[in-house]
Chain length 231, copies 2
Amino acid sequence: MPQRSISKSVIKRLPVYLRILDNLIRRDVEIISSKELSNESGFTAEQIRKDLAYFGAFGTRGTGYNTMYLREQILKIIGLDKKTSIIVIGAGHLGTALTRYNASKNPYVSVKAVFDIDPALIGGDINGIPIFDYAEIAGIIKEHQIKVALITVPAGAAQEVVDDIVSHGIRAILNFAPVKLRVPSHVHVFNADLTMELQSLIYYSSAEEERLSRLQQDQDTAKPSKTLTLD
Amino acid sequence: MPQRSISKSVIKRLPVYLRILDNLIRRDVEIISSKELSNESGFTAEQIRKDLAYFGAFGTRGTGYNTMYLREQILKIIGLDKKTSIIVIGAGHLGTALTRYNASKNPYVSVKAVFDIDPALIGGDINGIPIFDYAEIAGIIKEHQIKVALITVPAGAAQEVVDDIVSHGIRAILNFAPVKLRVPSHVHVFNADLTMELQSLIYYSSAEEERLSRLQQDQDTAKPSKTLTLD
DNA sequence: TAGATTGTTAATCGATTAACAATC
DNA sequence: TAGATTGTTAATCGATTAACAATC
């Protein structure tokens, strides 16, 4: 019974634990210590124990955690104990890749429909999942009581789409469009902006000291004159 | 001249500022205050000023920031002032989507090649970018002095691929495979594990208090007996 | 000059790490 | 019982926010 809501950093680590447990169970490992989970995950043993402790006491002192039991509990914590119905908006290459991947490899979700406005795509399907005209989205959201949507539409269309689907009951959005979405406080948006990930990665691809000292030099000469700046 | 290296949280915000500046410049806005940048980005004005201050003094007191100048400086900070050559490993749906997107929409990178092991794909191209046999990767990395790779291979193959490309000089990896990669300390890995993003999102798709209190009840009855756990 | 906004230092907040008592 | 490892409280660390002097 957590007093205040649990931090996003904790929630983001839970799927990591889940994946490790899935692998351990596949290898018939029945017990695992926080120390070993630390090795597998890269997080410290203390952090793992603390993360789990937010939700309950799942381990056995002196022994460790039962892998099957802990997995079940984490599934319940995240809400993966029942399949979650989702929709994908935008049937471009990324939307198609995500639909296929989730339809075939992700046992925790069920992709109910894909939406697009391109007449050439509407009526088709991706791995058996129908592509509908975006105009039909309200009905489908209602019919399947969808709460989660993946958005892979062009940047210019994203906010409009979001306003629309939120009004129909969507509560959680994984946004691949490179825009900051504005949503009411009860709606959660996670951004998976791959361009931005790639850009910050590029920062780390060359020796940082070197580039930053070059920057330092440039500034001495290159800063625009005040008059140029202000007029 | 930063004494110690700048935190990843700061670096991850720079591309956000960059995108906002791009949009402002397109609209011929010449000056922007940290307050306005805050509105556009969702970060506080103080945070934005502090982030920028790590790298230099780019603004004009009483006025704000010159959009063109600040953009240029951020490009230099990240290392986007020259096009970065990248490769994509794995020519599946996700690899194809990423290649296409970056080839056509991302002006800061140049996708030099895509690699796969499927004979049906090798020799083909994606938006004019050639798909090579993975066996040829060492030569291509060397030829173009590639430092950045996007990995969209199956989970089981990812670590092997990473060990290989790191030995050929790759220093930064955007990893889409659902595995924790082990790399030497000079190599940086960013994970874009979409399954995990989706899983943590699902946590937020239903009222959290409700589910967690349900969890609480279950634990009273469902915890496995000690003997069952230990034997 | 007065008003505005930066750049920077100090205070606060939250998350991670360390320590250890509880207990299997 | 002795050894091991959890669950939890306290200490530390780092990042964010607040405050304000510098200055355009």
